[in-house]
């Protein structure tokens, strides 16, 4: 038995070792290359060469009773390297395909956009511009100095100011409730209405000392309602 084992051991030749060494070297280098993202995909080339070298080495070793340990190691390393490089290929291919799809989608959208859409878009921008001009106009008109602090105000004038203030605050509350629609023109409108509301509030504060308790209470109620809307909207 021992004699038989010894004969089998000594009978191993160097068949396929040259290809095995070449396969292992190229496979190891391909493996390292495969882990560098810049050139990872290139490792497919040396990886494939290493597989071929290893397989040739394995065939030779089989035919010539050569040692197979190194050749199998070379084959495993080469397959792993080629596999990783192939993953890079799939990743890069996927990104390229997605970017092409996105470009095509944008092109199709542009093609689908007809003259009517463009007209609507232009009108929308023009409307936005008008609203902005109005807002700036209101800001220029903002003049809380109409009444001196503590000045008396007639009942008619108070009624006029508080009614307008109530309407403006209602409009503000409505805009806040629908804020989630995200329309740009609502944002401009909100700015314009806010300026008007601030102007009226400043007027009412200035005449505040001379207001009756009833008038003060009405002003506070309007403010309270506005605050409730703000709280609901979590602003």
């Amino acid at each position: 038995m021992e004699e038989h084992q010894r004969v089998e051991h000594t009978a191993k030749t160097n068949a396929g070792q040259g290809f095995g060494i070449a396969g292992l070297v190229v496979g190891l280098l391909a493996l390292i290359l495969a882990f560098i993202p810049c050139v990872g995909v290139i490792a497919i080339g040396p990886g494939a060469i290493a597989i071929v070298l290893s397989v040739v080495g394995l065939i030779q070793a089989n035919q010539g009773n050569g040692a197979k340990g190194l050749i199998i190691a070379a084959l495993v390393v080469s397959i792993v390297a080629t596999g990783i490089a192939a993953v890079w290929g799939i990743v890069i291919g996927g990104i390229t395909r997605d970017s092409h799809r996105f470009t095509e989608r944008v092109e199709r959208m542009v093609e689908r956009t007809d003259r009517e859409d463009l007209r609507r878009l232009e009108e929308s921008f023009r409307h936005l511009g008008t609203e902005l001009e109005k807002t700036f106009g209101d800001m220029e008109d903002f003049d809380p100095e109409v009444y001196e602090f503590g000045e008396e105000i007639s009942d008619e004038e108070f009624e006029q100011v508080i009614t307008e203030y109530e309407e403006v605050v209602k409009e503000l509350a409505e805009l806040i409730r629908h804020a989630e629609n995200g329309r740009a023109r609502d944002l401009v409108l909100y700015s314009r209405v806010s300026v008007r509301a601030a102007s009226l509030a400043a007027t009412l504060i200035r005449v505040g000392p001379k207001l009756t308790e009833e008038q003060k209470q009405r002003f506070e109620e309007i403010n309270k309602k506005y605050e409730e809307v703000m709280d609901e909207a979590d602003i």
């Binding site: 070297v25 882990f35 560098i36 993202p37 810049c38 050139v39 990872g40 290139i42 190194l70």
Partner: protein
């Protein structure tokens, strides 16, 4: 001469050490030849050229060129991963040389030598390359 050659390449381990060592020396040579300032390194990033996006290893060649010129700060600025990866390449040159000498001088049994070599190489590889991915 033939006797020395036969002795130097008497085992597959020595062949593997020789070729792997030469490959890593070629990387060092490549880094010495090409200046980091001119940015004329011939190996372009395949990932960027295909996808148009920069990848995690972009600037590594320039980083290597800075390292061989002793400018580690500039290398880190070009690509922070260039330092550990280059250190791994240098470690490989040292390991290939030491491994071959250890085999020829019979410092260790072959199985122990190859196991230690593989272990150190895998650990070094993980330490150098893992920051790029994790």
């Amino acid at each position: 001469m033939r006797l020395i050659f036969n002795r130097l390449f008497s085992h597959p381990y020595l062949w593997v050490n020789f070729f792997i060592g030469v490959a890593f020396l070629a990387v060092v040579f490549y880094s010495v030849v090409f200046s980091p300032e001119t940015g004329a390194h011939p190996i372009a990033c395949v990932y960027t050229s295909i996808t148009g996006e920069p990848c995690v290893s972009c600037g590594m060649s320039r980083g290597f060129s800075h390292i061989v010129r002793g400018d580690l700060e500039a290398a880190a600025g070009t690509n922070i991963h260039s330092i550990p990866v280059f250190a791994f390449f240098v470690l490989q040159i040292v390991l290939r040389s030491l491994g071959s000498i250890a085999y020829l001088q019979r410092w260790l049994p072959l199985s122990v030598l190859i196991s230690a070599d593989a272990g150190i190489s895998i650990l070094g590889f993980f330490l150098a390359f893992s920051p790029m991915y994790f």
